[in-house]
Symmetry: C3
Subunit: 186 residues, 3 copies
């Protein structure tokens, strides 16, 4: 027994070393520590819907204007939004927060956007914010963007948000399903 | 004694395993590894202050223009800035760097903005940059945004920046206190 | 031997504790887990090159317009881009993806920009995206921005991208070398 001890110590040492390295630096687990699903609803200002609009064109290329999305797949349009976030796909459900930020249409051939925005929560269930950035190739069924940070209940969060267009009504209304998987939780 | 050894080994094993997991992946410490406080000063161009202005309106909704912040709580205004950073709240203190980037007013009912910017340091004390993104509900006394990255002295930094409006003079000048707590330092 | 065992256990304990802490939280390795080099090519719309242009001015200060970059080092110009990414410095090499997003000129005295964009890969070698944000003081030979996230092959990536201007032809064409070092790989 007394002879076995140093050997078993060595075994533990190597074993723990392996665990330490594998967990800590490179081969992290791809299992989310938090999973959330939300919907947000965007109604773009078209010159006639000031009361209901939740977003507005604020930048346009030389060939565009500020009430109609530009030709060439809206390339160059900058849109600022303050959209309600709901737990289901009903625009009239009680909002749990607001999606606030901007998107930019950034391709001439097809619809593609770049997003920089936050989910700002203000409900009994969640307080704080999640910050997002990334490319949104709208025509794909699902597209992944990055969760680049968070505050409050989402302190220091990182992860992936998978967007899918849940509804699209002409150029006035769209609804995005946002499936958020956090892989860094504090 | 020789009998106790395997038991104590087991104890160490379990203990270290717990530490490894708690430190490495999920339950990280919420103690900042670095704490910094700065002020930055924004003087918006209003058509008459070209010499002193550090920021300018570069995007506006259909109902706005580029020298006056728009109606409806400036919803849709995009402002680009290059603001001096100081160590105290005096605009005329020697700047230690520049706050560069943009903000977007993104709510019709109240003042709220979305920020994307960097602190670019160029002083004897700090070299490098910190990058920020997040929602800034201006009317709150303090609001948290994310430190999403850093370079140079702030290589790979992540954290939280707590903003508070230290001064607000009409629509021309404001000063933001920026309390930066980094939780990931390399 | 039986007496030595608890002492050696203690040694292991302290040793492993040190490793755990050093690896996990503070003193991370500054050795990239992935290193990639790309070039991207920007041809700005000037009113006459609609067919070839890959970017367009979509925001300008009061003293600017949307076909000519503004006076005062283009301060306030917002440019949206969809630029081809190549493996070498030849604009006509087969693109491996697109650099999509925006840049903002944000200083009156010298050329400086703020970038928010993604590399969207679509080649046999890479699928997925890398998201970037940061200050780009153009006149410096090299400048570092942050890799703030990634998706697909670049799931949860973080790192530093070092930009250098590889070519600059007046105000119509520039090419950026992008040396990407990832320090967080999953």
């Amino acid at each position: 027994m007394s002879l076995k001890s140093p050997i078993s110590n060595l075994f533990f040492f190597v074993f723990l070393l392996l665990i330490t390295f594998s967990v800590a630096s490179k081969h992290r687990f791809r299992r989310p520590c938090r999973h959330l699903v939300f919907y947000f609803h965007d109604i773009i200002f078209n010159g006639h819907n000031a009361k209901n609009a939740t977003s507005a064109i604020v930048g346009a290329p030389a060939w565009g204007n500020l009430t109609v999305l530009a030709a060439q797949n809206h390339f160059g349009n900058v849109v600022v939004f303050d959209d309600p976030i709901t737990l289901d796909n009903n625009l009239h459900s009680p909002p749990v927060g607001r999606a606030q930020g901007f998107y930019i249409y950034d391709k001439k051939d097809i619809f593609t956007a770049w997003l920089g925005f936050s989910f700002v929560f203000n409900s009994t269930e969640h307080r704080g914010s999640l910050n997002f950035a990334g490319a949104d190739p709208l025509m794909n069924k699902t597209r992944d963007i990055s969760v680049i940070g968070g505050t409050g209940d989402f302190f220091m969060a990182r992860g992936i948000a998978t967007l899918s267009t849940d509804s699209l009504e002409g150029e006035v209304y769209f609804r995005l399903r946002t499936d958020i998987k956090l892989y860094e939780c504090w």
